[in-house]
C-alpha cells in the first residue's frame, strides 16, 4: 500500500479531529487509523475466539495465538496476544520498523505455523491457565458451548494434532476475517499483510442453559456475583458505573460487610453487552451481603438513581472519550465492532449519546438487566426468596437402559441407555432426581486411563461414569465409548486419585451438577508456594526471636514488640496464601 494515501491529522488540531478514527485498507484488510502522539501502536484482530470452539477442542485458538507469536521470540519491543470469547488480538507497540516486522512475522507464522513447537506450547498453555478468571457465570448462562466455554479448562489442547491446528488456522485466521488498527503520528511505511484468503465469520451463536431468568446458583465462598445481558448502549455503560457506586456505598460504606464492590461492562458486539457485578464478603457476613446486593439492584429497578452518581460516572466516561489517548483506547473495540459489521462511530456521536442519557434511561437499563440476571451466591445460600429462580442442576428426564446401583448402596444409580447416560438419586420427597447427558448433545467426554469417564452435556450438566463406583462391566464401558461422538472425546493423563467405592457417590445436587469448580490457576499455585516459603521463613525468625531473643539488656517491651512485629509480618505474608487456598480448589 502507499502510505501517502493516509492524511494523518497534524498536531494542534482539536480533540475531536485528533481522536477521529479513519477507515482504510491494507492489502484488502480493513484498517482503522487514528492519530496519536507517542510510540506507534497496532493490533491485528481476528473474528475468532473461545466461543467458536467446542468443549473437546477448547484451547485451539489460544494455541494458534501462541504459535503465531513464537517467532517473535525475545524481541525487545512490546508485543502481546490475547484470546477472548469471540476475538483474538495481536498487539504491538514500538518503532515503525518494529511494528512492520511484528505484523509481517505474525502473518507469516499464521501461514506456516512452527509445528515443531506444538508440544512445547501445549505445555506452556497448561501452566498458563491464567485467563481462567471469568469464573462460572458463563457456563451457567450459556452451557458447555459457545460463550460458556470461557469457564472451562482448555481440555482440547492435549489431543490436538498438527493437522487440527492447521485446519483451524486456515478456517479462522484469514484476511477476510481480520481487521487491523494503527495509532501513531503517521502510517507506518512498507506495511504488508499477507494472509490466506477467507470469509468474514458471523458472531458465535448465543446459547442458553437457563430456562428462566432472573436465575441464581450457589457455589464458592467468594461473595456475590451477577451478570446480565443488556442492550449495548451508552446508558448501559453508565448504568454499570452507577451500580458500582451504589454497591460500594451500600455494602461497604453503610453496611460495612464488603471490602470490594466492582462492576464490568463488556460489549458482545452483537448489539448486546454483558454487565457483571461483584461484591466480596467476610465468610460470616454472606447473608447480609446477598441481602444488600439484592436491595441495591431493587433500588435501581425502582428508578432510584442518584443524579450525582450519574453525573460523576458520565463525567469520567466523557474524560475517557476526550483524553489524548482516547482513540488509541477505542481502537481495539472499534476493530471488534468492524469485524462484527458495525462501522466505527464518530467521537461527536459518542459524546452526544453519552450526554443524552437521563436517569430514566438508567432505570430502563436496570429493568432490562433485572429480566436477564444470573446471580452467583455463596454455597449454602439461595436467592429464590428474592425472585431469582434456581438454575437447573438436574435434567428433566432419565434415560432408560441398564441400571447400576452404587457399590456403596446409597440409593443412587447409573443408568446406561442407548441414547445417553443418567445418574439418578432418590430425592428427599421420594421422587427420583436425575442428571442426564444424551450422546448427541455431549460436549465432551473426559477419559482417564483408569477407565473413569465424565460426560458433559452442552447444557453444562455432567455425569461421572466411574466403573469401580457402580460396578460397570467392561462390555458396557466399551459400548458407551463407542456411542459417544468421536469429536467429543478428550483423553486425559492419569489422575492422582480415582473415586473409590467407599467414597460417597457424586449426586446430582446443586454445585456438582454442571459446575466446574473454581480452579486454582498456575499463577495462584506459584504464589501459594512462594508465600508459604516466605511465610515459613518469617515464622522461623519470629519463633527464634520469641524463644531466644529476650535480651535482659534491652528490656521486655522491646523484645515483645519485635516478636509481635515478626509474627504480624508472618501473618501478613501467609494470609493471601490462605485466601487463595480457601477460594480455589484443585481439579
Amino acid at each position: 500500500m502507499n502510505p501517502q494515501d493516509h492524511q494523518a491529522p497534524q498536531n494542534g488540531q482539536s480533540a475531536a479531529t485528533a481522536n477521529a478514527i479513519h477507515l482504510t485498507e491494507v492489502d484488502g484488510i480493513p484498517t482503522l487509523f487514528a492519530y496519536a502522539p507517542g510510540p506507534l501502536r497496532a493490533g491485528l484482530v481476528f473474528r475468532v475466539g473461545i466461543a467458536d470452539e467446542t468443549l473437546a477442542r477448547a484451547g485451539v485458538t489460544h494455541l494458534v495465538e501462541h504459535l503465531a507469536l513464537y517467532r517473535q521470540g525475545l524481541a525487545d519491543y512490546h508485543f502481546n496476544g490475547a484470546t477472548k470469547a469471540a476475538f483474538t488480538h495481536f498487539h504491538v507497540e514500538g518503532a515503525e520498523h518494529e511494528i512492520v516486522d511484528y505484523l509481517h512475522g505474525v502473518c507469516a507464522s499464521l501461514a506456516d505455523l512452527p509445528m515443531e513447537r506444538l508440544e512445547t506450547e501445549k505445555e506452556i498453555l497448561r501452566t498458563e491457565e491464567s485467563r481462567r478468571e471469568p469464573g462460572q457465570l458463563p457456563l451457567w448462562r450459556y452451557g458447555a458451548q459457545g460463550y460458556g466455554l470461557v469457564s472451562y479448562p482448555e481440555w482440547g489442547v492435549r489431543n490436538l494434532r498438527p493437522e487440527d491446528v492447521r485446519h483451524w488456522t486456515e478456517t479462522w485466521f484469514t484476511g477476510g476475517n481480520a481487521v487491523l488498527w494503527i495509532a501513531g503520528d503517521r502510517f507506518p511505511a512498507g506495511l504488508a499483510l499477507k494472509l490466506p484468503p477467507g470469509t468474514r465469520r458471523p458472531l458465535p451463536a448465543v446459547t442458553s442453559a437457563l430456562p428462566t431468568t432472573p436465575a441464581h446458583f450457589s457455589d464458592g465462598q467468594g461473595g456475590v456475583l451477577l451478570d446480565a445481558v443488556v442492550t449495548d448502549t451508552a446508558a448501559a455503560r453508565l448504568y454499570a458505573g452507577v451500580l458500582e457506586r451504589e454497591l460500594s456505598r451500600a455494602l461497604r460504606q453503610e453496611d460495612g460487610n464488603s471490602y470490594t464492590a466492582a462492576t464490568d461492562y463488556t460489549s458482545r458486539r452483537d448489539g448486546h453487552a454483558l454487565l457483571t457485578a461483584f461484591a466480596d464478603s467476610l465468610p460470616a457476613k454472606q447473608d447480609a451481603v446477598l441481602g444488600g446486593f439484592v436491595d441495591v439492584l431493587a433500588a435501581l429497578q425502582a428508578g432510584r438513581v442518584a443524579p450525582a452518581d450519574l453525573e460523576a460516572v458520565r463525567t469520567r466516561a466523557d474524560a475517557g472519550l476526550t483524553a489524548a489517548d482516547a482513540a488509541v483506547r477505542r481502537l481495539p473495540g472499534a476493530a471488534e465492532d468492524l469485524l462484527a459489521g458495525r462501522p466505527p462511530r464518530g467521537l461527536d456521536e459518542l459524546r452526544h449519546e453519552l450526554w443524552s442519557v437521563t436517569p430514566g434511561h438508567l432505570h430502563a437499563v436496570a429493568l432490562e438487566a433485572a429480566g436477564t440476571a444470573l446471580l452467583q451466591v455463596p454455597s449454602g445460600h439461595s436467592a429464590s426468596w428474592a425472585g431469582y429462580a434456581a438454575a437447573p442442576t438436574r435434567s428433566t428426564y432419565a434415560v432408560t437402559g441398564r441400571r447400576f446401583d452404587t457399590v456403596a448402596k446409597d440409593g443412587s444409580a447409573l443408568v446406561v441407555g442407548d441414547d445417553g447416560v443418567s445418574v439418578t438419586v432418590r430425592g428427599r420427597d421420594g421422587s427420583d432426581l436425575a442428571v442426564t447427558v444424551a450422546y448427541r448433545s455431549c460436549a465432551a467426554v473426559l477419559s482417564w486411563p483408569d477407565g473413569g469417564r465424565r460426560l458433559i452435556g452442552t447444557d453444562g450438566l455432567a455425569v461421572a461414569v466411574e466403573p469401580g463406583l457402580y460396578g460397570v462391566d467392561a462390555h458396557t464401558m466399551a459400548m458407551l465409548d463407542a456411542a459417544v461422538p468421536p469429536h467429543a472425546r478428550v483423553q486425559l493423563p492419569p489422575r492422582q486419585s480415582a473415586p473409590r467405592a467407599e467414597a460417597p457417590a457424586s449426586a446430582p445436587a446443586a454445585g456438582s451438577g454442571g459446575a466446574a469448580p473454581v480452579r486454582r490457576t498456575g499463577g495462584q499455585t506459584a504464589a501459594l508456594v512462594a508465600l508459604f516459603l516466605l511465610g515459613g521463613l518469617f515464622a522461623f525468625v519470629a519463633l527464634a526471636t520469641t524463644v531466644f531473643g529476650h535480651d535482659p539488656d534491652s528490656g521486655t517491651g522491646e523484645w515483645l514488640g519485635l516478636s509481635g512485629f515478626l509474627w504480624a509480618v508472618t501473618g501478613l505474608i501467609v494470609w493471601p496464601a490462605v485466601r487463595i487456598l480457601r477460594r480455589t480448589r484443585r481439579v
Binding site: 460470616a284 447480609a288 446477598l290 441481602g291 425502582a302 426468596w385 428474592a386
Partner: protein, 318 residues
C-alpha cells in the same frame, strides 16, 4: 378477639377498644375505600409506628383484592405493596401454623415458603422505592425469620430501619425474635439488644417492653419446673423489669401509643409470675380490662390466664 361473654369484668381483647380508629379503618378497608385508607395512613403524625396500622389492614379478609387492583394501577404504591406483603405473610403462617417444624407437613412448608417469597418480593420493591418506610422494613424482619435468612441479614434490615426510625418498637420486637436461640441467636444477644433499646429510647416510649418480652420468652424456653422458678427468682430479672417499666409505661411522659396494651400486659404477666403482686396489680390497673393475645396465649387459654393472674394480683395474695 371478642371478650368472653357474660364475664362481667372479663378481659377485652378487642383492638378497637384501645384504639377506636381501628373500627373505622377496618370498615374503610372492607369497603375497598383505598383513598380513605391512604389518607388516614398518610396523615399519621411523624414517629407513629405505622406497622400497627398496616397490621390492622393486613387482617381484613378480602382486602387483598383491593390491594392487587391498586398495584395494577400503581405498581409502586408502597403502602399497597406493604399491606399485601403482610397479608401474604399472615396467610402463609396460617398454613404453616405455630406447630414445631417437625409437625409441619412438606406441603404446608412449601405453601408457607411460596407465600413468604411472594411477600418478600413485594416488600423488596416497597423498601426499594421508599427506604424510609418503617412498616415495610418491619415486615421484612418477619419474612427474614420465616425464610431463615440468617442473623446478619436480619441485623442489616433492622439497621436499615433504624437509620430512619431509631426507636421503632415493632421493628425492634421483630428483630428481637431473631435473637432468640430458637431462631439462631443467643439469650445474651437478646437481652443485650432489649436493654440497648430501652436505654436509647426517649423517656416514656414503649421500647422498655422489649426487656419484659425477652425475659418472658427466656422463662418460657426453660420449660416447666425448677429452672423456671429459679429464673424468676433472680434479683436482677426483677430489677431490670422495674427499671424498664419506670422508663416506659410508668413514666409520666408515657402516652399510650400503638402497641401499649401488649407491653403493659407483658409487665403485668412477668411481675405476676415472679410473685410481685403489687407491681403486677399496678400494671393490671393501668390496663383496665384491656388485653392482647401476647403474652397470655403462651400461658394457656388467654382470657382465663388473664383473669387468674389479675385476680391474684388485685387481691394482693402472694
Amino acid at each position: 378477639m371478642s371478650s368472653a361473654p357474660g364475664a362481667d369484668p372479663g378481659p377485652d381483647f378487642e383492638l378497637a377498644s384501645a384504639f377506636p380508629e381501628v373500627t373505622w379503618l377496618r370498615q374503610a378497608a372492607a369497603a375497598a375505600d383505598w383513598a380513605a385508607v391512604r389518607q388516614y395512613h398518610d396523615s399519621l403524625p411523624p414517629g407513629t409506628d405505622r406497622a400497627f396500622v398496616v397490621g390492622v389492614l393486613a387482617k381484613v379478609d378480602g382486602f387483598e383484592h383491593t390491594l392487587r387492583q391498586q398495584l395494577a394501577a400503581v405498581p409502586y404504591d408502597v403502602l399497597a405493596l406493604t399491606v399485601l406483603g403482610l397479608r401474604l405473610i399472615e396467610a402463609g403462617w396460617e398454613i404453616r401454623t405455630d406447630a414445631r417444624a417437625n409437625d409441619v407437613s412438606r406441603e404446608q412448608f412449601k405453601a408457607f415458603h411460596e407465600h413468604l417469597g411472594e411477600a418478600e418480593q413485594l416488600l423488596i420493591r416497597a423498601t426499594a422505592f421508599d427506604p424510609s418506610y418503617d412498616a415495610a422494613w418491619a415486615a421484612r424482619l418477619t419474612t427474614a425469620l420465616g425464610l431463615s435468612l440468617g442473623q446478619n441479614e436480619s441485623r442489616r434490615r433492622y439497621d436499615r430501619l433504624a437509620r430512619y426510625h431509631p426507636h421503632h418498637f415493632t421493628g425492634q420486637a421483630r428483630f428481637l425474635h431473631k435473637l432468640y436461640p430458637k431462631w439462631g441467636g443467643t439469650w445474651e444477644a437478646a437481652h443485650g439488644f432489649a436493654r440497648e433499646c430501652l436505654l436509647a429510647a426517649p423517656a416514656g416510649a414503649l421500647n422498655g417492653g422489649l426487656v419484659a418480652e425477652a425475659h418472658f420468652e427466656h422463662w418460657l424456653d426453660l420449660g416447666a419446673g425448677d429452672k423456671r422458678a429459679e429464673y424468676l427468682g433472680q434479683p436482677h430479672v426483677h430489677a431490670e423489669l422495674v427499671e424498664a417499666a419506670q422508663r416506659s409505661v410508668f413514666h409520666p411522659q408515657f402516652a399510650r401509643p400503638y402497641g401499649w396494651v401488649t407491653v403493659q400486659g407483658s409487665f403485668a404477666a412477668m411481675f405476676s409470675l415472679i410473685g410481685d403482686t403489687a407491681q403486677a396489680a399496678a400494671h393490671f390497673r393501668a390496663l383496665g380490662n384491656l388485653a392482647s393475645e401476647f403474652p397470655w396465649s403462651h400461658l394457656g387459654e388467654p382470657a382465663e390466664q388473664y383473669v387468674q393472674h389479675r385476680d391474684t394480683a388485685l387481691r394482693g395474695r402472694r
